[in-house]
Amino acid sequence: MPPDALIDVRDLSKSYRVHKRPPGIGAALKSVLRRRYELVKAVEGLSFQIAEGERVGFLGPNGAGKTTTLKVLAGLLHPTSGAVRVGTFVPQERDPRFLQLITLVMGQKQQLLWDLPPSDTYAMNRAIYDIPRAQADDTVRALVELLEIGDLVNKPTRQLSLGERMKCELVAALLHRPRVLFLDEPTIGLDVSMQAKMRDFIRDYNERYGAAVLLTSHYMDDVVALCPRVVVIDHGRLIYDGDLQALARRMRPDKRLTVRLSRTVERADLEKLGTVVSADAAQAVLSVPSVRLQAVVRDALAALPIVDLTIEEAPLEEVMRELFGAAAKGNGSTNGPPNGPRDDAHAHG
């Protein structure tokens, strides 16, 4: 484990024994006498490390093993094999000092007491985490201010909107000032502006307290805004660990050129410049190799009635889709790449 690593996952595997039976009354009766089980490998030989203060996106398609890994890291699940450490603790031992160190926020679950105001949950957590009253009050005040929730904490939870509840949930999860944040889809179901506020808040907390953040999200905007580094898994196996931008450049070296037009142009004129991703009367999006970008921009400005022009990396969703597609084709991932040390520029898939 590197000396500055706060989270150390080595060759982690986790399997579930799942009862399986076909539909129908016959199969139901048969299963009473003879139950059939199947071993599901949720995580296989996963290794990575995270340093204190680092923000890491933990990505993968549905069923890739992200939530299972987070639950192992949070001490909820016992690994089938491998070793996991958070700080100096083995999570599944659930040492109270370990539980003081971490928090796990799951976007679709809540710890707030449903019929009582969030302030009662905070009082309960203050007692459970044995936080001095003055410190707890200070933390609540600071978090309430950051999240702009004011008097909401005194309304019964059931009367709050989803976004308000999520903000109050974060206060409850952070009241003990954890140094490790496991965030599983923290912005799910929130509107765009609320998502942006949550991202700002998470970044602010990370910078203020030096907390390590491991984030899973299907909203790539969350990942782009928060995580310079991503760990990508598929079928429980590591397929990439490294810099997000490097991954994007590697998987999609082309740039995305978007031009707003003052009048309709022929598609053939656009195709001379690059691959047309989309085009309508007012706007066209072209995919252009980085090496040709300068020349293409010059030619476009000369040949097209351009009102506005922007250059971006390819959307992360596309990068991920391509990465998962490459893994599924068997370019190493499903047969298991060697889970070697972190490589900032190497996609295992």
Partner: protein, 282 residues
């Protein structure tokens, strides 16, 4: 923060964890009471569904009209079943429902993330209903005192102390039995089915339906050694003066022995089950 090479400092001792839980307990109780108050209407309606002792009282009252059944005349039956109603309402808790549900749907996860043993939190949660339960049973107790004053506790202070200890013991014994059965949900899908079976046996062998003295001799023998009597019958028998000091103290010892056994069994099953916890959905 140190790396893997650094050894973990020794885990705080049991006393330290217990001290921490003790400091949190008053707040947990206060929050629990607030929750009970929030659910007050549902709570009272639910309590009022416990009417079987009154049904049994009506039946036995009619039977005893022709003459006493053993030591029980009509007044004794009245005292007994009012005692059953009061003790049952005061000491029963249904932690099995909550625990098995939380294990099955994964919501136990949130409780496992807190640095307090989930069983202690569950205990506070259910203990916080006791004040409201006490308020609800106060009219029953008033009628019991009015109608059976001449026999209650044989007017003996020692029996009063035994009663108080036996009520605490009954609550704990039921609680740990519930935790034990609820924790079976880690292993089997039908933990609540086992509980339904338990309820049936408990109704007969605890003295809930019939005073244990009125059971056939062979069944009475079984009831005396099994734990069910100590969950209900024993405190009621002490309350309505069916036990002398010697018998009550002996039963109290047996009851607390069962409390210790139930606690050990419940925590053992819990600990073994936790390794199998899948946290699906949670």
């Amino acid at each position: 923060m140190t790396g893997a090479g650094t050894s973990t400092p020794a885990r705080p001792g049991f006393a330290s964890e217990l001290g921490r839980a003790a400091r949190a307990f008053p707040t947990l109780l206060r929050i629990g009471v607030s929750e009970v108050v929030a659910y007050r209407a549902e709570f009272v309606v639910w309590i009022l569904t416990t009417n079987m002792p009154l049904v049994m009282l009506a039946i036995w009252h009619a039977v005893a009209a022709d003459g006493p059944v053993g030591r029980f005349d009509q007044k004794a039956f009245t005292a007994y079943y009012l005692g059953v109603l009061a003790v049952r309402l005061l000491t029963s808790n249904w932690a099995v429902w909550q625990l098995s549900m939380e294990i099955r749907d994964g919501t136990l996860s949130a409780k496992l993330l807190r640095p307090i043993h989930p069983i202690i939190a569950l205990c506070a949660d259910h203990l916080s209903a006791v004040p409201m339960r006490a308020a609800v049973i106060s009219p029953v107790v008033a009628i019991l005192i009015w109608s059976g004053w001449d026999r209650l506790l044989r007017h003996d202070v020692v029996l009063l102390l035994v009663l108080l200890a036996s009520l605490v013991g009954a609550w704990l014994l039921i609680f740990f039995a519930m935790v034990l059965m609820g924790s079976l949900a880690f292993f089997v899908e039908s933990a609540l089915g086992i509980f339904e079976l338990w309820i049936g046996i408990h109704a007969i062998l605890s003295g809930y339906l019939v005073p244990l003295e009125a059971l056939p001799r062979w069944l009475r023998g079984a009831a005396d050694v099994l734990p069910f009597r100590f969950m209900l019958g024993f405190p009621v028998e002490t309350l309505v003066g069916l036990l002398d000091r010697h018998a009550a103290l002996r039963a109290l010892g047996a009851q607390w022995g069962y409390v210790a056994l139930a606690a050990l069994a419940a925590l053992g099953v819990w600990r073994a089950g936790l390794r199998r916890f899948s946290a699906f959905g949670g």
